[in-house]
Symmetry: C2
Subunit: 208 residues, 2 copies
DNA sequence: CTAGCAACCTGAGTTCAGTTCAGTTTGACT
DNA sequence: AGTCAAACTGAACTGAACTCAGGTTGCTAG
């Protein structure tokens, strides 16, 4: 199950790329990116440090890949969840629920994404890193546009009062993703409760 | 003006501590903490790299100090803004407005705070770093309690419907601080407009 | 005035995690 | 059995954070 989504189409059968990504997600998510030694990931997978460079150009390239994959998954879920929903309020609710329908591994990935968003800002020196960064950045913009569209449609249908849809979309996204900063599985508040509270907040934010 | 708040009580007259903090805020805020070289800060201030260690134990110690100072300022502003406000809704509005009444330098500090929050999680090896980290963490918890109290009071007075006040406080805080992730002075939306939109969102989130 | 002393500063050297180099092993498929 | 690309390795390199062993500055006391 773990790493099922992490397999690229053109991978050899004895490739350890998925295992590296899974280990990196574990370490980066639990301990933090800067704090974890790249060599620790290698040890976890059972290879020498140098072998990592067969799969990733650098530690940052691995991180950017993890972030891009999560953005991609996240966006796919949004599209899937809102596709057939005509009612704007129900579409919004579906989108929020989709954002919280995540496995524990995906929670780690969301956390990693949150904590290292700053990496998507500046350009990267190396080729493959920059490619991943660009892809991730574009996904972020796509997601922002998705949410903006959801809002503009609701506004034009009269379901939501007219406001600055783009800024409001950023606010909704900010509210939702901020959860991954503090939420911990097994913590005081179960994710279902958090989800319901946030869903209500999102609806009240845009309606009325 | 810049650095006026950055002066500690027991500083010598030729201390460059404030200048270092100001330069570090500029670099860390504009370019990012990891990206900026510690030596660049030294050059900006006009001293050798080694002189930095007269004032800060490490690059991280400087960063943690910046974060702690901003948390302190931020909390003081909250207390000041809500002190005399009896009406819960007005208190909430005042708190949000206070959160957005910031100078450009303070915007940078909020951004730094946001982007490096993860640093407050794990314990630090060195003494002074760990002291700053503890102080910052406690301020975060204080701020969370302040907002939670604002909500519980509003709920017990019947101004807000009863919900999980702590989780709701985290949601409000998450929404507000998420702005510093994307907001840029001179960007498409002026801060006043952002502030008004967020203020409305916060009120709608907790009322109704 | 000048002696002492703490604050302030420096160039040279160390450390350590990330990375590169120069090859060697593995195993699928002729 | 030989070939080739994928997968891997130990040893060496790099660069930015940091340490060391002192040197300079300027206030204060005598």
């Amino acid at each position: 199950m773990t790493g099922a989504r992490l397999v690229e189409p053109d991978e050899g059968p004895r490739s350890k790329r998925g295992a590296i990504l899974a280990a990196a997600i574990e370490y980066f998510g639990e301990t933090g990116y800067e704090t974890t030694k790249w060599s620790a990931v290698a040890k976890q997978v059972g290879i020498g440090q140098t072998a990592l460079y067969h799969y990733f150009e650098s530690k940052a390239h691995c991180l950017l890949t993890i972030m891009r994959l999560e953005l991609q998954r996240s966006r796919d879920e949004f599209v899937e969840a809102t596709r057939d929903e005509k009612d704007p309020v129900e579409a919004l609710r579906a989108a929020v629920r989709a954002a919280f329908a995540v496995s524990e591994h995906e929670i780690l990935q969301m956390r990693i994404l949150q904590n290292n968003m700053v990496l998507l800002a500046g350009t990267r020196a190396s080729q493959r890193e920059e490619t991943e960064r660009r892809a991730a950045r574009e996904l972020v913009q796509l997601i922002e546009r998705d949410w903006t569209r959801l809002l503009t449609q609701g506004m034009s249908q009269g379901a939501f009062p007219v406001r600055d849809a783009h800024t409001l979309a950023l606010a909704l996204l900010g509210l939702i993703v901020s959860v991954w900063r503090w939420y911990r599985p097994g913590g005081p508040t179960p994710l279902d409760e958090v989800r319901d509270l946030i869903e209500g907040c999102c609806v009240r934010m845009v309606t009325e």
